[in-house]
Each structure stands twice: as structure tokens, then as C-alpha cells.
Amino acid sequence: MNQLLEVNDLVTSFRTAEGKLSAVRGVSFSVDKGETLCIVGESGCGKSITTLSVMGLLPSNGEISRGSIQFSGEELTTKNEEELRKLRGNEISMIFQEPMTALNPVFTIGYQLREPLMIHKRLSKREATQKAITLLDQVGIPHPVSKLKQFPHELSGGMRQRVMIAMALACNPSLLIADEPTTALDVTIQAQILDLIDDLKADLGMGVVMVTHDMGVVAEVADRVMVMYAGEVVEVGTVTEIFEAPKHPYTRGLLASVPNIDDPDHSMEAIPGSLPNLSEEIQGCRFHPRCPFAMDKCMEMEPPLFELSSEHQSKCWLQEVKHYDKQSATSS
């Protein structure tokens, strides 16, 4: 079986002063071994919450209220904290956005790197130290032996993110979740980190879920792309399908808002408006207030995910006509 992670109809909600709000509304996706899935969308669209739901690391007021998360055939939503803990850092690892704050400031790099090895692999301190040196070397940190004794504040952002990656990879996880791993880094370091993740993915045969809002990153690393808007999946497809034939107006908007240096005539367009508030109820398609192609139907009925190819789906009424054309063509 090649499928590593399968998320079905995931709904994640938060208890707030305004009542129970859903940040993720029925999201489904899957990741195969050795595949990179990029989750794209504006800040606040539910990408990070989706990944934290998979990790079982939701904030204390959040909960998975519906849906299933299957990892290597095992259901995660019914597992207790202790069972999830044994998977975290071992089978499923996560890299966070902020290398500056994601490492504990009062413990050495060595201590923090040894931890997952000693917990999950039951290595002795000495064995874990040896492995930690190998890991630091693997992620391209010079002088790994002396780095072990250093504290996070003594390293640069890029180096810290490499340490985070080394920590995440310590136990050879089969799934790596990276939540905007390069957002806080310089552009030159960004490319190095992405290359590093890509190389390690190939070496270790991991599945990777990369959360980002940077289309440049998507183009570089993704096999498949999932576009999220206001807690929902609006379009899924292979990286070629998404970049060459984006179907959902939101995806097109995202692509149009990226500057294009190769095409001097390209004018950058912003998507008008902003993400709806979580508590805002929108009838019909959740994107229609910002959509340049919105029709009457969009304001009344929520569109389903239309199948455009075996891999490509778009949640937009614009696909309806083409969809039925295609269906009647296949049925006749």
C-alpha cells in the first residue's frame, strides 16, 4: 500500500467567546509515500490547523469534531494522547515556521536533539549524541560536535531551522509535516532548506506535507497542490495542473498575485477583499463575495468538488458545465 496519510471530511472547531467556530470545514486529502503535497492559501485559511489536527497538537480550546485521519491504515482521531505521543517525533514529525522561537532557549542543541532519540529509540545518551552528530552533519551544519554544546540563541535562523529539521528527522519518520518552514528565513537560505527537505525526502522515502503561502515554494517542491480557502479545499491537482490550468478563481487569484520577473508585461493582481471571519456565515460558495466571476447560483448554493481529471478537482460552479459535458461524453 502506497498511501501514507488519508484525511477524510475533517472538521476542526474551536470553543471561543463567540461560540463554537469551525476553522477547518470538511477537508479531505491524501499523501502517498515519497510524495510532497503542498497546502496553499492565505494566512488564516485553516492550513496550519489542518496539520496540527493531524499531529494531535491543537490548542487546548480546539478539537476535531468530525472526520477521520488515517495514518498507515491506523485511525488517529480515536487514539489517546499517549498513543499519539508515541507517533509524534517518531513516525510523524513536524517542522514549524519560526526557528527563532521553536527551539527551547534554555537547553543546548545537543539536549534537544538527543531527546526524540532517547524517547522513541531508547538510545543511551552516548548513542544519541553520536546519532545527533550524524544528523547535524546530514542537514549541513558545520562543526556538529561543537554545535551540540551551543544554545539556540548562538545560532543563526537558518542554522536553527536546520537543527529543527535534524530534530524532526531524528527517528526517520515516514511523514514530515512542514508548516511554512522557510517563511522566516532569508531567500538564499530558503532555497537551501527546501533543497535539503527534498533531498532527505528522496533518501528516506518520506511523505511530505508542506504548508505555505508562497507559490514560488510550491512550484519548487510540490508533487500535488491543495488550495484552501476559509477552511475548505477549493482546488486540488498536480503541480502542473495547478500552475498551467488553474480552475478555481481563487487559485488563479493566488497565482496572479505572484510577481513574474520573466514576463515584463505581467501585471500583478491582488485578490480584492479579505478572508471572511470564522464566525461569519456565508451562504453559497464561501469565496463568492471576493470572486470576479460570481453568478447568482454562487450566492445560493455551495458548489461540490467537481472532478476535472483523476487528480484535479475544483470546488466552483464554473466547472459545472464542463463537468456535465464531459460526463455525457463518457456516458454516450
Binding site: 497538537l57 507517533l87 534554555v106 540563541h153
Partner: protein, 313 residues
């Protein structure tokens, strides 16, 4: 680190000059004449003049101060007006009791305050959190002379488990410990409450930090996340509060020693103030100030030990 210690000790010298000057002046400017207290109600004006002459109180105040400081610099804190005992030996015989009381209260405060604050924070809004926050508020609000009296009533008079007062037995004996329990609780409660509140609020901040999520993402056990990853970070501001509370405790020993009839420095100071025994008042105040500065120096050193980002060089 050595630089910090030297710097602090130099500051301490300046501070002691300032404090001794203030205390000296306020004692001399305040109403109340030591001579009339020593001479008693029957003393005549010429008796009083003779006493003043003998104690050197008839000289200009500044001259007296300069003489006093010259003595202090030679390690001589002067002699008590009341019994002519050397001030340093009076302090040295009483200091161990005060010191034991202060340390025991600090231990009570830390052992109750830190765990209560941490557990409150990790179980925010649970029954434990609500009751410990309420008890902490009560603990800060209760005056310790009242608390001491109540503890004596319950545990010494009613239940007769513990002695009513005194601190004569050495602290390492059973009797000494029994004598220390009630005063230490009396004095430590308010500090425990402050430490609990501080621990709770810094812990609440720390457990939401990114690195705590990282620790959980690595599969660190929940207990280790709280007591290893979070605690060490949360302790940094708590240690400041502990240091400041030590000064508060030293002040509190004065009242607690009265309530429990402990013959410590606090009582010595109170008696000396009542008798206008200037040298003894000076000596005890300087001692308390020195202790406060030294404890806060220790706090700064502990900072650097637990937080690698702090360096004094």
C-alpha cells in the same frame, strides 16, 4: 561573573554608607532622648547631661556620624546604650535564629508556591486552579501576626502538637524543627502566595510558547514537557520574585519573632528602637540591608545559571 560580584560588592559599600547615614540622621532627628530613657523618670537635668556626655551624644551629629563610620570601617559597630554589650556580639548571638527562621520560611514559600502555581497553570480553570488562586489571594491578604496567633491557638493551645514559641533548640533536632514549623508557616504564607501567583502567570505564558509545541511534536512526555521544558523557562521571573520576597521576609521576621517570642535580630531591633539604643538600631539595619543585597546578588548568579542567554561579561 566575577566582574558582577565585584561590581555588586562595591555597590553594596556605597549603599551601606547611604543607609547608615539615613538611619543615623532619622534616629537623631526623631523625638525621644536616649539619655532620659537610660536615666529614668527621676533623673535630673545634670544627670541627663552626664549621660549624654558619657555616650558622646552632646557632640554635633555629623561628628558622631563620622566617628561611627570610622568605627564600622574598623569592624566596630559600637556598644549598646542599654547594657554596654558590643553590638556585633549582640547581633551574632541572635542572628542564627533569625536566619533559620527566614530560610525555613523561604523553603516553605518555595515548596508551596512553585508547585501550586505550576499545577494551577497546567490545569487552568480547574477546581485546583480556582481554589489555589483563592487561597493565594487570602494568603497575601492575611496579616501574619493574626495568622501566627491563630496557628498558635489551634496547633499549640488546642491540639498541643507544637510549642507555643521560642526557638532555642538547634534547627537540626526534632525539638528545633517543631519550634520552627509554626513561625515558618506564619512568615512564609504571604511569600508562598506571591510566588504561586507569579509562577502561575509565567507558566501560563510559557506553556503557550512555540518551543513547548515543538517539545510535544517531538513526542516528549507530558510531565517532562511541564516540569523540564516549561519549568526552567518559567522559573526565570519567579526567581526575581523569590529574591525580592527575601527582603520582605526579613522585614516579616520582626513581627513573627514578637508573636512567637523568638529572641532574634528582629526583636533586638524593636527593643533597640523603643529604647533609642542608636548603635544597636544602626547595626541591625545594616545587617538586614547587607543580607538583602547579598541575596539579590545570588539571584543574579542563579539567573545566569538557568538562562544561557544571560551573561554578565
Amino acid at each position: 561573573m566575577l566582574g558582577l560580584i565585584v561590581r555588586r560588592l562595591l555597590q553594596l559599600v556605597l549603599l551601606l554608607f547611604g543607609i547608615s547615614f539615613l538611619v543615623f540622621m532619622s534616629m537623631h532627628l526623631a523625638p525621644g532622648d536616649p539619655a532620659s530613657i537610660i536615666g529614668g523618670p527621676t533623673a535630673t537635668e545634670s544627670d541627663l547631661a552626664a549621660i549624654r556626655e558619657e555616650l558622646g551624644l552632646n557632640r554635633p551629629v555629623l561628628t558622631q556620624y563620622v566617628d561611627y563610620i570610622a568605627g564600622v570601617l574598623h569592624g566596630d559597630l559600637g556598644y549598646s546604650f542599654q547594657n554596654n554589650q558590643s553590638v556585633s556580639s549582640a547581633i551574632m548571638t541572635r542572628f542564627p535564629q533569625t536566619f533559620n527562621l527566614a530560610i525555613a520560611s523561604m523553603i516553605v514559600a518555595i515548596l508551596i508556591g512553585v508547585p501550586a502555581g505550576i499545577i494551577s497553570a497546567t490545569k487552568q480553570n480547574s477546581w485546583f486552579d480556582v481554589s489555589s488562586t483563592t487561597v493565594a489571594l487570602a494568603g497575601i491578604s492575611i496579616p501574619n501576626f493574626w495568622l501566627g496567633a491563630m496557628l498558635i491557638l489551634i496547633f499549640s493551645v488546642q491540639l498541643q502538637w507544637l510549642p507555643v514559641g521560642g526557638l532555642s533548640a538547634p534547627f537540626w533536632t526534632i525539638e528545633g524543627m517543631k519550634q520552627l514549623i509554626l513561625p515558618a508557616i506564619t512568615l512564609g504564607t504571604a511569600s508562598a502566595a506571591m510566588i504561586a501567583r507569579m509562577s502561575r502567570s509565567t507558566m501560563l505564558e510559557v506553556i503557550r510558547a512555540d518551543y513547548i509545541r515543538t517539545a510535544r511534536a517531538k513526542g516528549v512526555r507530558k510531565r517532562a514537557v511541564t516540569w523540564v521544558h516549561a519549568l526552567r523557562n518559567a522559573m526565570i521571573p519567579v526567581i526575581t520574585v523569590i529574591g525580592l520576597n527575601f527582603g520582605f521576609l526579613l522585614g516579616g521576621t520582626i513581627i513573627t519573632e514578637q508573636v512567637f517570642a523568638i529572641n532574634g535580630v528582629g526583636r533586638l531591633m524593636i527593643d533597640a528602637i523603643a529604647a533609642r539604643d542608636f548603635p544597636v538600631v544602626q547595626g541591625t539595619v545594616l545587617l538586614v540591608a547587607t543580607l538583602f543585597v547579598v541575596v539579590n546578588l545570588i539571584v543574579d548568579i542563579v539567573y545566569a545559571v538557568i538562562d544561557p542567554r544571560i551573561s554578565y561579561d
